[in-house]
């Protein structure tokens, strides 16, 4: 008798995962796609609109402005957090109880929920009871995040740096710890300067964690919502209204489901595209240097 009885039971094992992914990702996404090409007026009144929503979203001045703000915000915080994170990782103690203590201290901001961070900073910056707001006023510096767009921007950036630089620092710290001690010894024997050690040993060995850090921080910051919303409410005017807040106003505030669905898809594609381009570029750069691929 043939021992190879066809057995399709393997499919059953995949099924739970398939159902889970369908509910968590595929169905919601398809719903959004569905909304983005229709104008829904009521339960039984809907019209197919084609790409109309997409076109109007791409030509919307307010959204274009929000997009520019969003890009600037992400670039600024990357420009600050990545070097700062590397710097912190470099000066962190390497072993002993000091290392554990610093690691715990530095991780604390990461554990605070987004809107709590917003509230903390909202209070912190108040002129009457907030330490920073009051302190600056006492020093004679004019500072008001509800009136001055520059102050609002500076505060949001400072808040994000405080909240998320530890993540970059921790990733770099783990990367640095994985460099064998012999490299540093060899560099000392070569009489290499601190800068040379950083440039030719530490930085090349950190490339992989830095790619992860940049990707995570870019995606995170590009989707930022709760912190500026709680801190400034997007103001003064629309100076700190970022993409996700515009989207929420449109979808939840005004119930414009069609346009906001189209907008969501564009938003999603932008994040995907930027991350993909960045990742591919870095990986190609690494591949180009050693033309025959790594070992």
């Amino acid at each position: 008798m043939n021992n190879k009885v066809p057995n399709n039971r393997a499919w059953l094992l995949v099924l739970p995962m398939l159902v889970l992914v369908a509910f968590s990702a595929i169905i919601p996404l398809m719903t959004v796609v569905n909304y983005s090409v229709q104008d829904v007026l009521g339960p039984n009144a809907r019209f197919f609109t084609g790409t109309e929503w997409f076109q109007s979203m791409l030509n919307d001045d307010a959204l274009q402005a929000a997009f520019l703000r969003q890009i600037s915000f992400s670039l600024i915080i990357l420009a600050i957090q990545i070097p700062l994170g590397i710097g912190i990782a470099l000066i962190m103690p390497k072993r002993g109880w000091q290392a554990s203590a610093v690691l715990i201290l530095i991780t604390l901001p990461l554990l605070i929920p987004w809107n709590v961070v917003g509230s903390i900073w909202q209070i912190f910056t108040r002129g009457d009871i907030g330490l920073m707001g009051w302190g600056l006023r006492e020093l004679g510096i004019e500072y008001n995040i509800t009136r001055n767009a520059g102050d609002a921007w500076a505060t949001i950036i400072l808040m994000d740096v405080w909240h998320w630089t530890p993540l970059v620092a921790m990733l770099c710290y783990s990367g640095l710890r994985s460099i064998p001690e012999a490299y540093y010894q060899a560099a000392r024997i070569d009489r290499a300067s601190k800068w040379a050690v950083f440039r030719y040993i530490q930085l090349p060995k950190l490339t992989n964690v830095l790619v992860i850090a940049v990707l995570l921080r870019f995606m995170h910051s590009f989707m930022i919502y709760a912190e500026p919303f709680v801190l400034t409410g997007g103001g003064p005017g629309s100076a700190t209204t970022f993409l996700s807040q515009s989207l929420t106003t449109m979808a939840v505030g005004q119930q414009d489901l069609g346009p906001s669905a189209a907008f969501s898809l564009i938003y999603f594609l932008v994040i995907l595209l930027v991350s993909w381009v960045f990742y591919t570029t870095i990986m190609n750069m690494q591949k180009d240097k050693p033309p025959h691929g790594g070992a």
Binding site: A182, D190, Y200
Partner: protein
């Protein structure tokens, strides 16, 4: 350049890593540090390089006390067990790096890099990056970095351990030649007695942070000054059988009596540890006075084209080093011939009291 370590102690967190080492290395000498893992080889090298100062003792270079001079101000280079190269620099730039840091003129650097690369047979790889190279090529690059500057002291910390057998032999042979024309002190750490023998030069036997013996490699091998030194410097380790020497007789295990060699008769009667090299035990009688022992096979370990045969007599185990590949079954009874004229004798403190007379042309001496 000469290097003199004077009564060096090194204690880390209360644990002595090096104790009381006194060692003088001659200019232009090739020195092997032989010892098992944790014998203190790497620590001793770090002290020689000046990567850390010793807890006690002095390090004298060319008559100058350099004990507390940092590695940056000494002229040393080092090759590690791991292949350490700058990952983002080409082989060329890696080899050139010590000279670039020393700000030497470009044309000189170029000439030197090509010379060194040729010496190490990596001249066709100069534009590659370390991660594109095989282990052997990476280690050659690291050696290039060590050799390009005219260091007074070059340290090799088990550089060939991570390479395959064939490459190891090849690089080891080249290494000796590379140093023939140089006036620097080379120090080479290894755990393998055979590597020390192949490299020649001088050998220092280390054990638990102490220097057991230092001298020309062959001499240290033939005339170990103690039981530990003999055990450390033989692969497989020398067989040690406790026995009793009476007037004309040696007794092993109270039952095996045999007449002893004339030279041994000069020793005081008493208890000794007798040593016999694994390569001196045979399965066929070599001489009339060989002692035949009935043993049982434990395991036959094949290493390359040789067999290490582990057997046990009633009370003591023995290991034989046989040329060629042989198959034995476990517990197989065998007769092993024990050359009574090739015994080392160690007193109960572990000092050598008798060394066998060399056999003319004996393969393993």
């Amino acid at each position: 350049m000469s290097l003199h370590l004077q009564n060096i102690d090194h204690i880390v967190n209360g644990v002595p890593h090096i104790s009381g080492i006194d060692l003088a290395l001659e200019p232009g000498s090739f020195n092997v540090l032989l010892g098992r893992t944790l014998a203190g080889k790497t620590t001793l090298m770090r002290l020689m390089a000046g990567l850390e100062p010793p807890t006690r003792g002095k390090i004298i270079m060319d008559g100058k006390d350099v004990t507390n001079v940092s590695v940056r101000k000494r002229n040393v280079s080092m090759v590690y067990q791991q292949f350490i190269n700058y990952p983002s620099l080409t082989v060329y730039d890696n080899i050139a790096s010590p000279l670039k840091l020393a700000k030497q003129p470009k044309s000189d650097i170029d000439k030197r890099v090509r010379e060194v690369a040729e010496m190490l047979h990596i001249e066709q790889l100069l534009n590659r990056y370390p991660q594109e190279l095989s282990g052997g090529q990476q280690q050659r690059t690291a050696m290039g970095r060590a050799l390009i500057k005219d260091a007074d002291l070059i340290l090799f910390d088990e550089p060939l351990v991570n390479l395959d057998y064939k490459l190891r032999e090849e690089l080891r042979d080249e290494l000796r030649d590379l140093f023939k024309a140089r006036n620097c002190i080379a120090v080479y750490a290894t755990t393998e007695p055979n590597e020390a023998l192949a490299l020649g030069g001088n050998t220092a036997v280390l054990h638990e942070g102490k220097l057991l013996q230092y001298g020309p490699t062959e001499q240290v091998y033939r005339e170990p000054n103690g039981r530990f030194s003999a055990e450390m410097f033989s692969e497989p380790p020398i067989n040690i059988v406790p026995g009793r020497l009476t007037d004309n007789e040696i007794t092993f295990d109270q039952t095996l009596h045999f007449p002893c060699d004339d030279k041994l008769k000069r020793l005081e009667p008493g208890d000794y540890d007798f040593g016999v090299r694994a390569s001196h035990l045979t399965l066929q009688p070599q001489r009339a006075d060989d002692l035949a022992l009935d043993v049982h096979v434990d395991v036959a370990e094949i290493s390359g084209s040789e067999t290490f045969l582990h057997v046990h007599h009633e009370r003591f185990p023995l290991v034989l080093h046989l040329a060629g590949i042989h198959q034995f079954s476990v517990n197989e009874p065998l007769k092993v011939y024990f050359p009574t004229h090739q015994l080392y004798a160690f007193d109960k403190q572990g000092h050598t009291v008798h060394i066998p007379v060399r056999q003319g042309g004996a393969a393993h001496g």
